[in-house]
């Protein structure tokens, strides 16, 4: 055989195998390869946080999958879960730790201790991830060793994050107080390159179909308990090319605060919780009109499953008994409800 043909054969084989490898998702195998993870905070100080798993096909719910796999409870106030490769990283807020489990069987592979009040985790490269904490810092996690390699000092209460290219947008919620900025971190240099002033209590961030980053700010204060120093919520659009605020829509009242922000599959509609309802905003509109999708009572968590194009929201009831998860179509029609565990507050869709 000619050398040229061998080279061509080798290249063909290389292309074939590399393509098949990139198609293969390591997380596509195993019991939890596809489904919905419900994050149940548990009661503060009650040591009953957990994760439930919802099988989309059967609509069955498997409860406390961490306890079932590891014969020990997950921890106190389960805040969030992120899947990186074939692992799941679970921020357990009041237990000051991040649990690392195999996604296939949810068995623990590592416990990262000594992280003060971890909130959310985002993979920023093949070798590292960021963990926000209310320790006024973003912790840098070495994914190879599952250890903390460094910290980036932030403003108070770094919380939800969003990855846009090499930039990581960190919402500084204020923690137990009130924050109103976003720190933009260059993930290659692990340093803050820009601070964007938004409105009080930034709570959620998503990208729309046009590449703008939408940020929902809840405003200072508590729903239904107005105080003299309350502030209004706001929905802002940020241009990631120059970090400027392109649009701002203020909510009308100081006593009613929006929360949670998700985008639909086509990223042309935003959904959020507001005034005992789920509301939507059309990113293509230039107006400031929010459309009520559905009335909800005591909604705590909100998510959007791009697989099924269903809105998920949760009701924690009294935070001391099992809560409920509801699935709603984008037109607001209720599909079904499923019982979760104590204080369901978030979702991860795999």
């Amino acid at each position: 055989m000619k050398i040229s043909n061998l080279i061509l054969l080798f290249l063909s084989a290389f292309i074939l195998f590399s393509t098949s490898c990139t198609k293969d998702n390591p997380s596509s195998s195993g019991k939890y390869s596809s489904g919905v993870f419900v994050i149940n905070e548990g009661g503060f100080g009650s040591a009953n946080g957990s994760i439930s798993f919802l099988n989309r096909d059967s609509s069955s719910v498997e409860t406390d999958i961490f306890l079932a796999a590891n014969s020990r409870p997950l921890g106190d106030v389960v805040q969030s879960m992120t899947i990186i490769g074939d692992k799941a990283y679970i921020a357990v807020n009041n237990s000051n730790k991040v649990e690392v489990v195999n996604l296939a069987d949810f068995k623990s592979v590592a416990v990262i201790q000594g992280i003060t009040l971890p909130r959310y985790i985002v993979q920023v490269s093949d070798i590292k991830a960021y963990i926000t904490t209310w320790d006024t810092a973003v912790y840098i996690l070495d994914l190879g060793t599952n250890t903390i390699s460094n910290k980036i000092k932030c403003e108070v209460g770094p919380d939800v994050m969003y990855k846009s290219g090499k930039d990581i947008y960190v919402l500084n919620s204020g923690g137990f107080g009130t924050g109103n900025t976003i720190s933009v971190i260059n993930s290659q240099e692990d340093s803050i390159i820009k601070t964007i002033v938004v409105a009080d209590r930034p709570a959620g961030i998503v990208a729309d179909k046009n590449g703008l980053l939408w940020v929902l700010c809840g405003g200072k204060g508590f729903n239904g308990w107005p105080a003299a120093d309350d502030s209004k919520g706001a929905l802002l659009a940020i241009d990631p090319t120059d970090y400027s605020v392109k649009r701002r829509i203020d909510f009308p009242e100081t006593g009613i605060h929006p929360d949670k922000l998700v985008a639909n599959k086509t990223a042309d509609k935003l959904y959020f919780l507001y005034n005992n309802g789920i509301y939507s905003y059309d990113v293509s509109s230039n107006g400031s009109t929010f459309t009520k999708v559905r009335d909800v009572n005591n909604a705590y968590g909100l998510g959007f499953d791009k697989n099924t194009e269903l809105i998920y929201f949760s009701n924690p009831l009294n935070f001391t008994s099992n809560g409920w998860v509801y699935r709603v179509k984008e037109n607001g029609i209720l599909l079904d409800s499923l019982q979760a565990e104590i204080a369901p507050s978030g979702f991860f869709f795999n």
């Binding site: 100080g45 040591a47 921890g75």
Partner: protein
């Protein structure tokens, strides 16, 4: 007059044995009580249980002794956390703790932190089961614990000293000394506690670990004095101070914790009693100044409470033949300086109360009709009557029954907490029914004695106050569920006393069904109230040596309001050995106790570690005269 002033001013500090906090959830409760009228707190027909003095001495603390008694549970939020009293399946806010007849509940929370109660030698502690709002007002629904110290005259000098050390770094020392002659009785007690609470426990990986950040330190001082101003008159006064600092212990799933709590209180009272002929007149005043500060640097919390309250009460009782008629008036003021309330709180409350009691000539039958009406500008408090009767058809048999209406006012936190406080919240109210049967007997040679108590109770609590999430981030109290609490209990003892040997066996069992639900179809057991609770104790004595084996059974306890999660049943055993010695006027008791004999891994509150097996060494030294006093 000069003597009266002298007595008041000299009020030697009555040292109150600071509570010794044991590694389990039992709260030690020392009682120094100043006796006076209306301090018995026992209404006709109601079941009362005196805490046996020997059991108090044997137990590390009163909470431990109380926990073995019928229908009582003491629950702690961790070994160094606050501790609550649960009687008859109700919650801590439905029971009251009285000191010298004054309710010492913390106004913001509506309950008494048992871990802060003075812990030294008791003269007397009485548990009164059932409602007693008809005489003592708000918060006495499940029952009450009455702490009393008898100002006994003409007893000479008495003194006691207690030293206790655990096998980990817990240490306490307390002492008490008193003097009394025909006219003057003075007692002073002091206690010092330094508990590291660094005990061994099993962590969530089932590995042995040592508890950290669970330190508890307390110093308590209590002084009381009584002086007979005349043949039929007496003045008493006392003050009580404590200062405690605690590190809130971490939980099994929160291995590090920076929460701390500092408690400080100064209380005092003065009382004048006059009993000319068939009259009994009493006037007394009480002052209370309490501070609590809770901090957590990690959570950015620094919450402080400063509460001041005062109370003045006058009552008169007239005995007419077999009848006793009484009436009284009480005025109470309360001020709260709590930053989270956003404004100072000033409240006043007045109450009128009366009683009508009859005792038959043979004393075999007695009955009492009681009534009280409280007045407070923010509420329409119900009129609370109660009727009780006691009948002894046989000399050895006593039957009691009572029915009562009771209420509980919302706490300051219920009304003023920002955000969430509900100024429109209504008081709770309840109807209680109780019945009890006591039988005691001994054989002809008095070598064998039997005691048995059977009781049953039933209560409906309406307008139960519950904190619920009104939004996802705001909790607020609402009047919601009804609670139906009912149960039965048994408590029995058999004693055999020989010339050299002595045996006794005691058993107790309680069944508590306390249910609530948002609708009539919902009947969930209240959290942390076990359906079944039992205990047994065998004691063997040979001359001055005693060995006791104790078993405690606590049934399943639900930890969520929908009863989907629970703590499993717990079986615990303790072994206690005691050697007594006598040397002239001094009596020594040396104790060696093995707690959690079988090294059981258990939790009393979900997530909070409990100590594996540990040891306690205790030395009690008493001046002989004090023994004579205690046996009166």
């Amino acid at each position: 007059m000069k003597r009266i002033v002298f007595v008041v001013l000299i009020c030697l500090p009555v040292l109150v044995a600071a509570q010794v906090k044991v590694a389990d959830t039992v709260i030690q409760l020392n009682a120094i009580e100043i006796s006076g009228t209306r301090t018995g707190l026992s209404l006709a027909g109601c079941l009362s249980e005196k805490v046996d003095s020997t059991k108090l001495i044997r137990s590390s603390n009163l909470g431990e002794a109380l926990d073995n008694m019928i229908q009582v549970q003491v629950k702690s939020n961790g070994v160094s956390g606050s501790s609550s009293l649960y009687l008859r399946g109700t919650s801590s806010v439905h029971n009251a703790v009285f000191w010298n007849g004054f309710n010492i509940a913390f106004g913001s929370l509506g309950s008494t932190d048992m871990s802060l109660l003075p812990a030294i030698l008791f003269d007397k502690a009485i548990i009164n089961y059932g409602g007693a709002a008809s005489q003592f007002g708000s918060g006495v629904i499940g029952g009450s614990v009455n702490l009393n110290n008898i100002a006994a005259y003409n007893k000479g000098i008495n003194a006691a000293f207690l030293l206790e050390k655990f096998s980990f770094n817990n240490f306490s020392v307390s002492g008490r000394a008193g003097f009394s002659n025909k006219k003057l009785a003075v007692t002073t007690a002091v206690s010092f506690v330094e508990n590291e609470n660094n005990f061994r426990y099993n962590n969530i990986y089932k590995e042995k670990d040592t508890l950290t950040h669970a330190r508890f330190n307390q110093i308590s001082v209590l002084q009381q004095a009584g002086y007979k101003t005349g043949k039929n008159s007496e003045i008493k006064a006392g003050w009580w101070y404590y200062d405690a600092f605690r590190e809130i212990s971490p939980t099994l799933l929160v291995p590090e914790n920076d929460q701390n709590q500092h408690d400080n209180a100064l209380r005092g009272f003065v009382e004048y009693a006059f009993t000319p002929g068939l009259w009994n007149l009493n006037i007394k005043a009480f002052l209370n100044d309490e501070i609590m500060i809770f901090t957590s640097k990690q959570a950015g919390i620094n919450t402080s409470y400063h509460l001041k309250s005062s109370q003045i009460e006058a009552n008169a009782k007239r005995i007419i033949g077999r009848f006793a008629i009484a009436a009284g008036i009480q005025q109470r003021f309360q001020r709260a300086d709590v930053p989270v309330y956003k404004s100072d709180v000033n409240e006043s409350q007045m109450a009128l109360f009366s009683s009508f009691e009859y005792t038959s000539f043979s004393s075999k039958f007695s009955t009492g009709l009681y009534a009280r009406h409280d007045f407070q500008s923010d509420y329409n408090i119900p009129f609370c009557p109660s009727l009780g009767l006691k009948w002894m058809p046989l000399k050895k048999l006593e039957i009691g029954a009572s029915v009562s209406k009771n209420f509980r006012l919302p706490t300051l936190n219920d009304r003023y907490w920002v955000p969430g406080g509900n100024p429109d919240i209504l008081p709770e109210n309840s109807w209680n029914q109780d019945i009890s049967i006591k039988y005691s007997d001994k054989n002809a040679d008095s070598r064998t004695a039997y005691f048995i108590t059977l009781s049953a109770y039933n209560m409906h609590i309406n307008n139960l106050i519950q904190w619920v999430p009104v939004t996802a981030t705001i909790w607020s109290p609402v009047n919601r569920d009804k609670v139906w609490s009912r149960g039965v209990s048994e408590n029995s003892t058999i004693k055999f006393t020989g010339s050299k040997f002595a045996h006794s066996i005691s058993t107790s069992y309680t069944f508590s069904l306390s249910t609530s639900g948002a609708s009539e179809n919902e009947h969930f057991q209240l959290i942390y109230i076990p359906l079944h609770k039992a205990g047994a104790e065998y004691t063997f004595g040979y001359r001055k040596f005693t060995a006791a084996l104790m078993w405690h059974f606590i049934g399943k306890r639900f930890t969520t309001t929908d009863n989907t999660s629970f703590l499993p049943t717990t079986n615990l055993a303790d072994l206690e050995l005691k050697q007594s010695l006598q040397s002239k006027d001094l009596h020594f008791d040396l104790f060696f106790t093995v707690k959690n004999l079988f090294n059981t891994d258990y939790q009393m509150v979900a997530g909070y570690p409990e100590s594996l097996r540990y040891f306690s060494f205790k030395l009690i030294v008493q001046y002989l005269n004090s023994l004579h006093n205690e046996n009166q």
